[in-house]
Symmetry: C2
Subunit: 354 residues, 2 copies
């Protein structure tokens, strides 16, 4: 494909969160963890791109705090392509700043923006989708997003409404609008209609095109980023003053020729311990197991031993997660409540455990 | 009381077991653990005797493997009164061997034999019972056992059937027979009749009297113990050849003038995690807690953090026990099944965790 040699990846790896506490910590967020395989999600995100995008065309945007761990996990990515934001300002500043840096040598690469913390089962299908999107960008200079074909009703994701067909062969269609997490009834309608995709935060565009959009739609951000380039010694102050805003809000929802290509690749954003339980291989009793476990009449549990051993007798449908300093026990169905535990520990002054 | 100055304690601290795994280990059995308070059960067993039996009249029989830990836990007990069996041979050899040693200087002390791993809430009542029993032994040279007045139907203990009243004031009665763990119907009848006590393994006797009984009822054991005294260099071989037998079988059940005194002192043998849950102070939701815990809508659980933190969300009536290397999770009602986990780990070659 003509575009391939010019296709570069920008992996967004600066995120933080508490949904995989106690395994995830402030200094070791989800993307740096091996949750569903022996590689970390960041490592899988990178290795999944081979051979379409080799490591020397991978860029990573992370935070200064996480940069050492990112470099360690990705020894094949050139260190100067691991960009460290002074402080996180959501995806729009991260992408715009990184894309400016990626085009600094005067090139106009095609950039595929990829979250670092998602799971994909079918790597080949994923790469094929990226390649098709890149070809479309190369030919028509569109901004593309890769949406996920939904196989179930899901109220936890944002959706993309597809419009007119642009390229029948690849299933490329216009994006009519972005829809935030819908209620159940709406989600059912979306999935049944076949006209909606999950918004997975995956975008492909020509670097110059994205920067034009930023300049037009977010002139203040563009001006600040330009100033950072001329006065790199002021980056802390300037970057810190940028408004927190996502690329969806800042650019994509206002881009009138955004197009989408549906991906069917066993995608999951692994949004909770419960979501992880669904994808980790389970034993004959429906127990999803990572690490060393001994069981007696246990079924439907997620048993995750990051450290030491979990012994479970006569329990069902629980999440049990053991680290060197904590054990978390809760029903799978209440996995969303991890954050209340995290808040309680913060209130108790136990940030050392967070 | 006349007998007090001659009253000595013999604490049996050589036992092992798996019911408090993973906190209890081969090298750190139950009696050496602080399960229900900040002191270990052995330390409480010793401190409970003060001032009736001061530390310099306390003897401990344990195994060679455990002796260093026992000495460390009981710095006030003279080190030469901590006796270490070469190998455990159940209570009859342990008691007979220890009692010989205790009387070696020619005295004929009154000895109170006490298991090291039981819980007692009312120390004063316990001491009063011991003092009454010792006085009875001093006056009539009886062999006494202190039975526990049962406040509930219990099929997990042995019972003592009481016979004729011997001393109305203290409630001392003959022991008519020993009954092994009864079925439920029998246990109900026992408790309702008021004629039965739980056998707690607590005995009081004059040292010479016990040794006469051993010589008469267990002549081979007595001969071996005598030989050990004349050839201490052969103790490993001689002691190892002793038959494993409990003091109940070997002596007490055949002793025709055994008498009993009922104790009402909040006694428990702490036979399982579930039993511990019943005696550890609980919060408003019935959670019994030891160590650092954070909870959200959790009720009726035993949360025992020997190391690190336990976070429990939306779970009920579970035992959750965390050590530095293991977490055990099971319903309280299945606490007896710890042993199946221990067996599974043994079969897996993980004796390092046992």
């Amino acid at each position: 494909m003509a575009a391939d040699g010019n296709l570069q990846a920008l992996i967004l790896a600066g995120g933080s969160g508490t949904r995989f506490w106690p395994v995830s910590r402030r200094h070791r967020p989800k993307q740096l963890l091996a949750l569903d395989s022996d590689q970390t999600l960041l490592q899988r995100t990178t290795s999944r791109l081979q051979p379409l995008i080799p490591a020397d065309r991978v860029w990573v945007c992370t935070t200064r705090e996480l940069a050492p761990a990112v470099r360690e996990q990705l020894p094949d990515v050139p260190p100067d392509q691991i960009l460290a934001e002074p402080t996180g300002r959501d995806t729009a500043p991260a992408i715009a700043w990184s894309v400016r840096t990626m085009g600094r040598d005067g090139g106009d690469p095609i950039v595929a923006v990829l979250p670092a913390d998602h799971r994909v089962e079918d790597d080949a299908a994923f790469r094929a989708g990226l390649a098709s999107a890149a070809a479309e960008v190369d030919r028509f200079d569109r901004v593309m997003t890769l949406g996920i074909s939904p196989h179930r009703v899901e109220t936890g994701y944002g959706y993309l409404e597809q419009g007119e067909i642009l390229n029948d062969e690849d299933g490329i269609r216009e994006v009519r609008r972005f829809i935030e997490k819908p209620d159940r009834e709406t989600a059912v309608r979306f999935v049944e209609s076949g006209d909606y995709l999950w918004n997975a935060g995956i975008f492909v565009f020509r670097s110059g095109r994205l920067l034009e959009l930023v300049a037009r739609l977010q002139p203040q951000m563009a001006a600040t980023l330009e100033r950072i380039e001329t006065r790199p010694e002021e980056i802390e102050e300037l970057y810190g003053a940028l408004r927190r805003i996502s690329i969806d809000y800042a650019v994509m929802e206002q881009c009138d020729d955004l197009a989408t290509l549906p991906l069917d690749c066993g995608w999951s954003d692994l949004g909770s311990w419960e979501a992880l339980a669904e994808v980790v291989a389970s034993d004959g009793s429906g127990n999803a197991i990572r690490g060393e476990v001994v069981m007696e009449e246990a079924s439907g549990n997620l048993l995750f031993a990051d450290d030491g051993l979990i012994a479970a007798v006569g329990v069902s449908d629980l999440v049990i997660v053991r680290t060197a300093d904590v054990v978390l026990v809760m029903p799978k169905s209440r996995a969303q409540e991890v954050k209340t535990v995290v808040e309680a520990l913060h209130d108790r002054g136990r940030d050392d455990l967070l």
